[in-house]
Symmetry: C2
Subunit: 458 residues, 2 copies
């Protein structure tokens, strides 16, 4: 083991292929179903929403999928991203644990979301699409797609969850600087938005609602397609560059992670880091632990049902089998907007159901405290979403101190917090409190699932 | 010439020494004078303000000064920083010019300021200092020193120029996240601040005023020293890692800059990039152009006098020979707080006087337009200060198109604009206008200089 703090791969080590875990799942994923016919969805069904290349990736069982050269050319601007050994944090915690983090905040828009934004913009442009619509929670995905749209000459329309739109005007300003249009969701521009506003004019919005609005707008015009920032197989696929690089970087460090930690909202940054390591577990029978960290205010894997559900609130999307708190559930407005989603990526849900992934919850105050401790030691202020991973990593490192164990902990620092300083100000001023989800609301949202199930059986 | 966009040096190429241009100046710098005795200042005179190691560097004529290992260890987190070929911007401009930029926004606090903050915090900690005071304009320097203080266990007190304090609450939040104290300047905590407030209770502040406050506080306590973010020789020295790396990176690109461009407020990011290239000009008789870009609202090199003046408003600092708009001048509150300084680094002033540096001015609207054009092409939103360099680079690239010349342009992208989105919002909403300095105010501020000169002659 060297005493380095940074493990940086040169450009020649930029992965040439993404890793598709669908090829290696111990049992196959449940099929995605058409909401009207309840039959497995076809390429043609999805064609009004996504370009063909994306649909192929979504359904592919190929293990390796080539990263197109124009995508790699943009990746090269910041990839391979650095992997750090957090020696100063280890010292501050006085832990025998070896803490590593993969830092995705070096991307131009400041998070891992850029990895899939570039790929999606490329495939859309290749197939003649002129405009893409999307949703965004914290704004990381929206600003990433806005940037990708600027590079590939696409018009971008972003529905931003109302609570984040209000909390984070500068994420919006960033999208607008890249030339995108940013609209607070629920909006009066779509039927889905108007329906929500009719019931609750003060709705704080949710990713589920914003997805409905973006899909609705996309299918209205032939030159428009929709892009999703997480959840779907192809999005998780694009993120695997993170873990593919990290495997090589851990080898540079002459070490191997005992546990892999990442936060999970829709699941893409977790999958990006974890899936390539999980392939090694499948191949080499390793005992690596995979810890998915959820906000206690939106504990999809921890408290949700594993069932067929809609990806959005207005039930415009196909039905997918996943952990879900119910597509009608609107999580409270805590300060990690990227984690406010009722569902979980089907691939992650499937692997969690099979016991390969351990979910864990933390509340927001302990996450901010962890983020500030990390910032003071490592000099980087994490995004509130990433603070969930930081919190779990610190927790595990503290356990190592107590138990006298020296484990190697690798977590994904999925983005920086430069656009989240209001949350840090509120936290430091004592204005934040821990938030719980409304149990009755979740029970109500979950109560719709048996009906879906029954419909599927007939 | 390859078709790369990124030139990244590995860690083994991190410079081991800073380059001290004082060793190579064609004529020596005018001595720094004690304001009371008008005699050249001594190490003892400066001891209440700076640690000994810093004072030695300030006065040193050694060409190479070793970078201490603990400083290099922190540098390694983000250095060597990338040098990019702006191929997408070139294409958007349809220019035959080859545009390169060195990107310092990859540092944890988002600008080049971290290079000297780490060094200063290290030397202070080495000599037993417990607390450092400083000023900050846009907040880039303050947050860099705040981060460095957290790493080296120093208490940090930052006087932030009022107009930036109001414009940029999130820079303040960043400093506070690192554990620093941030105070709006002019403040009622110091005599210097109270004197300004007595004359003008609504003063927008200036770097000159904030320096007075920070120095005043530093000399009051034995365990406290002061740190400056620009202007002085040792600060410029620490920034030369930028240019030293860039020389190697331009060699990787098999190219050599015809012109070097950077914005100048106090001068440190300009010097950091330019001085190592200037050494090559001295040694090899090259015709490289060095363009220092100033805001037209604070055109120190362009419109100032070359004379002895104070570095601060309250006249607590030594007298230095430099280009100055007069230490009493308060620049208007335009959106590039890091460039709102009445003076200019003595080394840069001296080299400009000798004809080695060409100053140039741009107003803020054209700088924001250039920054947005850059962001859309390159995916990175620059800080408003850095937009001045972007603006000049685009201007030169356009001239190349018109003249059919293929020049190599290298500029310093000194920091990102993540904490400047309010300025971008205001610009895009049409709320910003070009600002001019008050000619009468500058005339008044300059009118004090002959008296200083006369005092020095007696």
């Amino acid at each position: 083991m060297t005493d380095s703090i940074k493990y940086l791969l040169d450009e020649q080590h930029l992965p040439t292929n993404w890793y598709n875990i669908s090829a290696d799942l111990p049992t196959p994923l449940a099929p995605v179903l058409h909401p009207a016919t309840c039959q497995p969805i076809t390429t043609d069904d999805l064609a009004p929403i996504f370009p063909r290349a994306i649909i192929e990736q979504e359904m592919s069982l190929e293990r390796e999928i080539e990263i197109p050269k124009p995508v790699r050319d943009v990746y090269r601007q910041w990839r391979p991203s650095p992997l750090y050994r957090a020696r100063r944090l280890e010292k501050a915690l006085d832990t025998p644990a070896r803490i590593y983090y993969k830092y995705e905040g070096v991307s131009p828009s400041g998070s891992h979301k850029t990895n899939t934004a570039i790929a999606q913009a490329f495939y859309n442009q290749q197939e003649g699409v002129k405009r893409m619509t999307t949703e965004t929670g914290a704004g990381q995905w929206g600003s990433s797609l806005a940037m990708a749209g600027a590079l590939f000459g696409l018009e971008i329309v972003v529905f931003m969850v109302r609570v984040s739109f209000d909390h984070k005007p500068y994420r919006r300003a960033l999208m607008e600087t890249f030339g995108a249009q940013c609209i607070a969701s629920p909006s009066s521009l779509t039927e889905s938005g108007r329906a929500v506003l009719a019931t609750n004019p003060n709705s704080s919005g949710s990713l589920g609602i914003a997805i409905s609005e973006a899909v609705e707008l996309a299918v209205q015009r032939d030159d428009t397609r929709y892009g999703l920032g997480s959840v779907l197989n192809h999005v998780l696929l694009h993120q695997t560059v993170i873990g593919l690089e990290a495997i090589e970087q851990m080898a540079m460090a002459q070490d191997y992670p005992d546990m892999i930690i990442a936060c999970t909202g829709g699941g893409s940054n977790f999958a990006g880091l974890a899936f390539p390591f999980m392939r090694e577990c499948f191949q080499r029978q390793l005992n690596t632990q995979f810890i998915a960290v959820e906000p206690s205010a939106c504990p999809t894997l921890t408290k949700g049902a594993f069932a067929y559900d809609f990806g959005d609130t207005a039930h415009l999307t196909p039905l997918v089998k996943m952990y879900t708190l119910g597509s009608g559930f609107v999580p409270p407005g805590f300060h990690a907007g990227g984690l406010r989603y009722h569902g979980m990526a089907p691939q992650i849900s499937h692997l969690a159901k099979l016991g390969f992934i351990q979910p864990r919850i933390y509340n927001q105050l302990e996450c901010f405290a962890a983020g500030i401790q990390f910032a003071k030691a490592e000099g980087i202020v994490p995004a509130p979403e990433a603070n969930h991973a930081v919190c779990a990593a610190i927790d595990e490192a503290n356990k190592c101190r107590i138990n006298g164990e020296s484990k190697a902990i690798l977590f994904n620092l999925s983005g920086h917090g430069h656009f989240d300083m209001q949350a840090y100000m509120d936290y430091q001023a004592g204005k934040l409190k821990d938030l719980e989800y409304d149990h009755n609301e979740v029970a109500l949202a979950l109560s719709g699932l048996p009906a879906i199930d029954a419909a599927l059986r007939t």
